[in-house]
């Protein structure tokens, strides 16, 4: 559900990332500063053929993308964003043949660092299958 120009920008941002496009990631919505980004089920992302289970690596990549987008969304001007670290907890296997969505939360923005976290869910389930927490640094485009 794209409601305002900022949301259109976020959708474009996701589509501008070649790997995110290849994985089929889609920006779904923004509430406050929380973003929701979806990875539709895709047999190419299965860990083993016909298992219906998307690989952990795909979930990690979805989290990294969503958390990066959440950091990007904190600023009005374009910033160069660098992941310092990322931690992913895998709570349970994804539901077979289900899409996975990540909902982000920005924890803290300092002069140089943004702390963010996100939960990954299968379709409409209420309990998370994975959780990610990341630290990003940011700089103006001119800075090194």
């Amino acid at each position: 559900m794209i409601r305002d120009p900022g949301d259109i920008e976020l959708n474009k941002l996701v589509l501008m990332i070649p790997h995110a496009r290849r994985m089929g990631f889609r920006f779904l919505e923004k509430t406050g500063d929380s973003l929701v980004i979806e990875m539709p089920y895709n047999p190419e992302l299965e860990v083993l053929p016909r298992s219906g289970l998307m690989a952990n690596g795909a979930i990690t990549t979805l989290l990294d993308t969503a958390l990066g987008a959440a950091v990007y969304d904190q600023f009005d001007a374009y910033r160069r964003i660098v992941t310092l670290d990322l931690r992913v907890d895998f709570f349970e296997k994804p539901r077979p043949f289900s899409s996975v969505t990540v909902k982000t939360r920005c924890l803290k923005v300092t002069e140089q660092i943004v702390y963010v976290q996100g939960d990954a869910f299968c379709s409409d389930d209420s309990s998370a299958i994975a959780h990610g927490v990341a630290v990003f640094s940011y700089a103006d485009m001119e800075e090194g």
């Binding site: 790997h19 992302l45 053929p49 690989a55 952990n56 990690t60 990294d64 990066g68 990322l86 907890d89």
Partner: protein, 142 residues
């Protein structure tokens, strides 16, 4: 998958695409063995890019390479006959991933009856300059 690895274990040197997994195939993961060491390779292709200007690998692809490497090393080193469950992974990003092939190795820090802790390191053209490292915990029994 275990038949696939059993066959490789009897081969002193190989360079094998991890085609048994659709995701690994999409990512371009390969498993190599040379001088007794096991290396996982992520062959560069344009779909791995996360930031077009300047072109850099998506952080998720490097994380994924590190997890796959830890998993392969754990299965290689043990007699496990099922895929262990990943409990968590912590990735430290050290350098920008260049648009080129990436390599990773892992070693088992500790293996108990129920859990294993592995450390993995990824590099590109210069093995002395790691791109990222990761700690991974696996659960060995359900």
């Amino acid at each position: 998958m275990f038949d696939f690895l059993d066959k490789l274990k009897t081969t002193p040197e190989f360079d094998q695409a991890l085609d048994i997994s659709p995701y690994a195939r999409m990512m371009g993961f390969r498993l190599r063995r040379k001088d007794g060491a096991l290396t996982t390779v992520m062959k560069y292709h344009g779909d791995l890019i996360g930031s077009p200007f300047p072109p850099s690998l998506h952080g998720g692809t490097v994380a994924s390479l590190l997890e796959m490497t830890a998993l392969m090393q754990l299965i290689w080193d043990t007699k496990i006959r099922h895929i262990p469950r990943t409990i968590d992974i912590t990735i430290d990003y050290l350098r920008r991933g260049m648009p080129e092939d990436s390599f990773a190795r892992a070693h088992v820090f500790r293996q108990g009856r129920r859990f294993a802790t592995l450390h993995a390191e990824a590099w590109q053209s210069n093995p002395e300059k790691p791109v990222a490292t990761a700690m991974v915990h696996f659960q060995l029994v359900d």
